[in-house]
């Protein structure tokens, strides 16, 4: 196999072996079966454990395939399951920020809103779920784009414009996404609708992949400081909510 990397081959062999033995295997059994040194095998298993591809019920105990593997491929998180997990945290975010909350997932080339919590001011509001938002023109979409490595400035056609502030250049957007990735949240001010801003952060699954975005949307005056930047306090609420949901996904009930 030209250019193959030995440690990846060996890791794959371990995964195949565990897949064939759902009842868990010990370190010794794995090393013997694959004819590898115990120290090598242990090193490989430690890495696989860290990324969630294998699991151990007790430290030093036998190994089996991790649930993180399923999430990696054809087993995306069900959006209705995601709503259930996010429900309590989304409510608390609306309570803390006084703004309406949305959870969105990538759906084709749009951000699909799967959960919506009203702004807690008891004004008349309509439940707006199953609504699609343009990925490049809202904070939710930017978070989702930043979570995919595939987005790059390859084509030179312009992105759809909604207001004078919409980012239409792929190159400019790609630069912004680098920044979103680096700081772990996205903001958008008047790029989709005049006078409306949004702030969002990534919900990650147990292997760290972005599976959804959660955040708030509301009037620019409320969400932004006088310099027109998202208020740091609100950003922090959004980020800590996203972390709570992510932790919930990694640990909680069926």
């Amino acid at each position: 196999m030209p250019g193959s990397i030995q440690s990846i081959e060996r890791a794959a062999a371990i995964l195949h072996l565990l897949a064939d033995n759902p009842d868990r295997l010990g370190l010794g059994e794995i090393a013997d079966t694959l004819d590898l040194a115990k120290t090598t095998t242990h090193g490989l298993l430690k890495t696989l454990l860290a990324v969630g591809f294998v699991e151990q019920s007790t430290v030093g105990g036998p190994y089996r395939l991790g649930t993180g593997l399923g999430r990696l491929a054809g087993d995306p998180l069900d959006p209705n399951a995601l709503r259930s997990r996010a429900l309590n945290w989304a409510d608390a975010l609306a309570g803390r920020t006084g703004e309406s909350v949305r959870v969105a997932v990538a759906h084709g080339d749009a951000a699909l809103v799967i959960h919506h919590v009203f702004r807690p001011d008891d004004s008349v509001q309509q439940l707006a779920v199953d609504v699609e938002l343009p990925l490049h023109a809202c904070a939710f979409g930017k978070v989702l784009l930043a979570g995919k490595t595939a987005f790059g400035p390859r084509q030179d056609d312009l992105l759809d414009s909604y207001t004078a502030r919409t980012v239409t250049s792929r190159r400019v957007l790609a630069r912004e996404l680098v920044e979103v990735r680096r700081r772990g949240w996205a903001g958008e001010v008047g790029e989709f609708a005049e006078g409306v801003a949004s702030i969002a952060a990534p919900i990650r699954n147990e292997v760290g992949r972005t599976v959804a975005a959660i955040g708030i949307a509301g009037s620019t005056e409320r969400l932004c400081n006088p310099r027109g930047e998202p208020r740091p306090k609100l950003v922090e609420h959004v980020r800590s909510t996203a972390r709570s949901v992510s932790r919930d996904l990694a640990t909680r009930r069926r």
Binding site: D78, N80, A81, S84, N88, A94, G95, F118, Q125, R254
Partner: protein, 519 residues
């Protein structure tokens, strides 16, 4: 900034939650753990009370750690619990003498049937306000005393303690065998058939009828009162409230006044309508229950429609049939089709509670054809929850003469948009979810916070209630009527023996009501 949080414990049927709330009633930290369900025989459901206590003692510190808080930050603990689940333990050791018998358990159906045939039965129903059903806790206590060797003698000798889950947890939190407090709150006691629904005391006649020695019973206390301080888990922190989970949800929805109602959608679903200081009895198959009592205040009552199987039918689709891998995925499956395909599921797994009160009923699936797919079944499962709600709301409307303007909902199933829309459609009423779906915990938190002065009064809590979502009816009324008729037809088929006409069912509910409204 000290004592800025209240801790709610929600000891539920499938899991226990520890939730920390701040002064604005916002969730700060949540820890949850499922406990094992034991099914030793068909119709039997048991929990290990010691397992639940151990889990609680781990959940609470974990929740505090999540919020970077210590016991000094917690003003009070409030407890909400699965109701009617009964446990008997040794006073000297804290060891349960039998696994807790869960509210869904029907082992005492035969016992209840023979008791209902007793000439004193009408008088018993009149005193406790409840129809004869294995659902309530008295027959479980009686069963344990009869079934466990030596239990009755030991009970009489004062060696045993009985309680529902709040009693068990409070006793353990306050020291267990070393001076633990043995008490129950009046809402939980109202579900036993041993308490006089008017005086709110254990009733000598009822105790004699069920043949239960008074020595095993906890003291009945108001729901909102500083009972004492924890010596375990959160040493020094006051326990300020205990309520049955459904009453806690009513409180969490801030339904403090007569005429206010909610429906909680969890394992089962329960509509409670606050009737104020007045005990209102039903002619249409609902039951009177205690809503809450603050120390020094009169008891507030509620009218309740209890539905045993709603979320647990979703779990059956998951665990029994394996059609979905998690409960919320039922919505995904149900959306693969546009309607129920003619299929209806009446989940009378252990008889039917309100408004039918038929312990002979058994589950049925009607309208099965080769056309029906797993998607149609998923729809029928969700629709069963909505139709059962409709039956209970219809009974409530018939009892009170007041039409519902909107339904306040909460609980895990409210995450299901398809279901919530369907409920709005078939009730022809807006359905509203408040900003905190964990209202059971919120109610326990509110109640305990009030007990220690975290909030000045109940009215001040109303400001925290906000609508988080609303579903508005959009179904054609002819379609709704047709579907309801199909459902009712399926319900009559769930009865053992020949189907009875609907009029006769109402008359039967009236028999219960007759025994209840004699005063």
């Amino acid at each position: 900034m000290s004592r800025r949080y209240v801790l709610a414990v929600d000891q539920g049927t499938t899991s226990t939650r520890a939730i920390l709330f701040d002064r604005s009633g916002r969730l700060v930290a949540l820890r949850q753990h499922e406990h094992e369900q034991h099914f030793p025989q068909p119709g039997w459901v048991e929990h290990d009370a010691s397992e639940i206590w151990t889990q609680l003692s781990q959940l609470v510190p974990a929740a505090l750690a999540d919020a970077e808080a210590g016991p000094g930050d917690v003003a009070a603990i409030g407890i909400a619990n699965q109701r009617e689940t009964s446990v008997v333990w040794e006073r000297a050791t804290g060891r349960p003498i039998h696994r807790a018998i869960v509210w869904q358990d029907t082992r005492t159906a035969g016992l209840i049937e023979s008791m209902a045939a007793d000439p004193r039965a009408a008088r018993v129903s009149e005193l406790c306000g409840l129809p004869f059903a294995p659902y309530f806790s008295a027959s479980r206590l009686r069963w344990i005393l009869d079934a466990v060797p030596g239990a009755r003698q030991r009970a009489v000798a004062g060696e045993l303690m009985f309680g529902t889950m709040e009693s068990w947890l409070i006793w353990n939190l306050t020291g267990g065998a070393n001076g633990g407090l043995h008490l129950t709150d009046v809402t939980n006691a109202s579900r036993s058939m041993l308490m006089n629904i008017r005086t709110c005391r254990w009733d000598r006649e009822l105790l004699a009828f069920f043949d239960v020695p008074a020595q095993v019973l906890p003291e009945i206390r108001p729901s909102i009162e500083r009972y004492g301080a924890c010596t375990q888990v959160l040493p020094g922190v006051a326990i300020g409230a205990a309520l049955g989970d459904q009453q806690a949800a009513l409180f969490g929805q801030t339904c403090f006044e007569a005429g206010e109602a909610k429906c909680t959608y969890g394992t089962g679903s329960f509509v409670l309508l606050n009737t104020g200081t007045e005990l209102v009895t039903s002619r249409h198959g609902l039951i009177p229950t205690v809503a809450f009592q603050a120390a020094g205040e009169p008891v507030r009552y509620a009218l309740e429609g209890s539905i045993a199987v709603t979320g647990s039918l979703v779990q059956w689709l998951r665990d029994g049939l394996g059609l979905i891998s998690s409960a919320p995925e039922i919505e995904t499956l149900a959306r693969t089709v546009g309607d129920n395909g003619g299929c209806y599921i009446v989940p009378a797994f252990a008889g039917l509670l309100a408004p039918h009160w038929r312990s002979d009923a058994r589950g049925v699936i009607t309208g099965l054809t080769s056309y029906v797919t797993s998607g149609h079944l998923a729809r029928a499962v969700l629709e069963a929850t909505a139709w059962q709600t409709r039956e209970v709301i219809d009974a409530m409307t018939a009892d009170t003469g007041l039409a519902l303007r909107e339904l306040r909902v909460d609980g895990g199933m409210t995450a299901n948009n398809l279901l919530m829309q369907f409920i709005a459609d078939i009730l022809d009423t807006p359905v509203v979810r408040p900003m905190m779906a964990e209202t059971v915990s919120l109610g326990a938190a509110y109640a305990s916070g009030l007990a220690v002065g975290m909030w000045p009064d109940r009215t001040s809590l109303r400001r925290n209630w906000h609508r988080a979502a609303e579903w508005n009816p959009s179904m054609d009324s002819a379609l709704r009527d047709r579907e309801y008729a199909n459902w009712q037809e399926a319900v009559t088929r769930s009865y053992a023996g020949p189907a009875r006409p609907a009029g006769e069912t109402a008359a039967r509910a009236g028999v219960y009501a007759g025994t209840l409204s004699g005063s």
